[in-house]
């Protein structure tokens, strides 16, 4: 049977079936990352540092070296790696829970250090892998396995806006939030992910892309409804935008 490798090239490994649930947004983001690596021709010197969560499987579908970091620490792993091997391209890939719950401190310090590494945060507003518990990005009122009556701001606060926290950091050179809610959004997300890698390839500094995606299983929703939610409630709060893009300007490396 014919597959799509003629279209996507070598980075994506289509022999392996994904272990994502049907309709999972990780599938799209994983592919976009692979496309960026492929298009920039950096596959042989790119290292994935993935977090713990469903996105931890992402590297299995790319023929690149990969490190599954401890939970939340991928950005610090990446810093250490990049210091020791600056000629390689290092990106972290993890969910909202890994990246901005347990990993928030490591993430923001890595961003603030401004070293050229790239972070992809896949925000599905829930801890997918562990069965759909509240995450820092869970929407107000959202019912999860640990917020049976919906997220309550009095006790749990408001959904965390992560790139917004990096706006005052000079070392962050590409900063964007995207989504996979629609074909158009996916095209935009693809552009931003590619720029985030480019930012590193050119040695400009730290780059970050949050991608807002559905997790039908964690949300206990039909796939179609989960995409509708992504296109509406989710992106109403997590507004897709390019906060900063210095790839258009200087060139360092």
């Amino acid at each position: 049977m014919e597959n799509l490798s003629a279209k996507y090239g070598k980075t994506l490994n289509l022999d392996k079936l994904t272990s994502y649930c049907p309709g999972c947004g990780h599938g799209v983001v994983t592919r976009l990352v692979a496309e960026a690596i492929e298009e920039l021709g950096i596959m042989e010197r790119t290292i994935a540092i993935v977090g713990i969560g469903c996105g931890g499987f992402s590297h299995h579908y790319m023929d690149i070296d990969a490190i599954e970091a401890t939970h939340g620490r991928a950005p610090s792993f990446a810093l250490g790696y990049k210091l020791a091997m600056p000629e390689n391209i290092v990106f972290t890939y993890a969910g909202d829970g890994d990246t901005c719950a347990i990993g928030l401190g490591d993430l923001l310090h890595a961003a603030n250090k401004g070293m050229p590494i790239t972070t992809i945060m896949v925000n599905n507003t829930v801890f997918g892998m562990t069965g759909g518990q509240m995450s820092p990005t869970t929407l107000v009122g959202q019912v999860t396995a640990t917020t049976a009556k919906g997220r309550d701001t009095a006790l749990q606060g408001y959904p965390l806006l992560v790139p917004e926290m990096m706006r005052s950091m000079e070392g962050v050179k590409f900063l964007a939030r995207e989504s996979v809610a629609t074909p158009k959004a996916i095209r935009k997300a693809k552009r931003s992910i590619r720029k985030a890698f480019e930012c590193q390839v050119r040695g400009l500094g730290y780059s970050f892309v949050e991608v807002v995606v559905p997790c039908p299983t964690g949300l206990k929703m039909r796939v179609r409804d989960s995409y509708a939610r992504c296109a509406n409630e989710m992106t109403d709060y997590f507004k897709p935008q390019v906060f900063r893009d210095e790839t258009e300007q200087v060139d360092v490396a």
Partner: protein, 356 residues
Amino acid sequence: MIQETLFLKNTETFAESLARCGVKYHFAYPITPATDVMKRMAVILPRYGGQMMQMESELAVSSALAGAACTGKLVATSSSGPGLTLMHEAIGFMCAAYLPCIVVDSMRVGPGDGDILGAQSDYFVVTRGGAHGDYRTVVLAPSSGQEIADLVPHGIRLAYRYRIPVVFVIDGVSAQTTESTTLPAYNDYSAEFDTSGWAFTGTKDHAKRALITGSYSHQDGYEMNERLRAKYEVIRDKEQMWEQDGVEDAELVVAAFGIHGRMCRDLVSRMRADGKKVGFIRPITLWPFPDRAFEALGSCVQNILVVEMNLGQMVDDVRLAVNGRIPVHFLGKTGGDLPMYTLADMIAEADRLLGE
């Protein structure tokens, strides 16, 4: 760098020895009494083409250390008890991941934030692991500046030979002791080992490699643990190190590591001068514990006295090693203006046991 003798704090001796033996990247977060290691590393590593990177917590330190270790390059960190506690997750990870690295632990009094003076209270966590899962690290316990300089090359070789974190422990008093030490000339000991067979350096010259310690199949988890078990057996078999003196005809053997171990030399010579049959065993590897030193003790030995700067940790390993054959006694405390025993205290207790 050439060989030279310097009057240094032992923390600085660690820095010098590590840098001269090939460490290129050092990650750390300040904590007394370990900070001087990172301070000196910050100054000297650039001379070797390396870098000290200060991170924002010990969690970040150990994570960056693990990330850097993935490249196969020689990396190190330094901390003290409270910091080490936050590194166990990554240390356990590196054990599962077969990553070499060097960790220097300058032990202070605990639990809690603790007292910055020295202790030996991290014995359990370094020899049994402070994280979940079954794993071990090699643990080396030098007792003087010169021994630090001499052991560092060996530690680096062990780290690469077995692809395992190697932890150097020293009590805070010894860490802050300043003495003259002959430092080695520059030689990168890690260069003796070929890392191209496993390092995660990109797929230019190898097929995809993935470092996975978690989302494997159940069976893979079992096999990983069996591989580790076999490796640990080899290390236990081959790598025990200790110093001993006067044990052949001893009625009493004193066992201690680090600073108390160093004091044992004086203890034995003084007590022998008084005609007392006393010997000592000073474990140099805390893991693997030098069981053999204790198994070899003759029937002349009527008592063993273990002296520690803690409430009783290594004493368990001594008991396990002698397995009931010889009574094992314990003298230990932690904290205080002098957070350890004096030679006089030790001799008094030894005398008491000889008199029993």
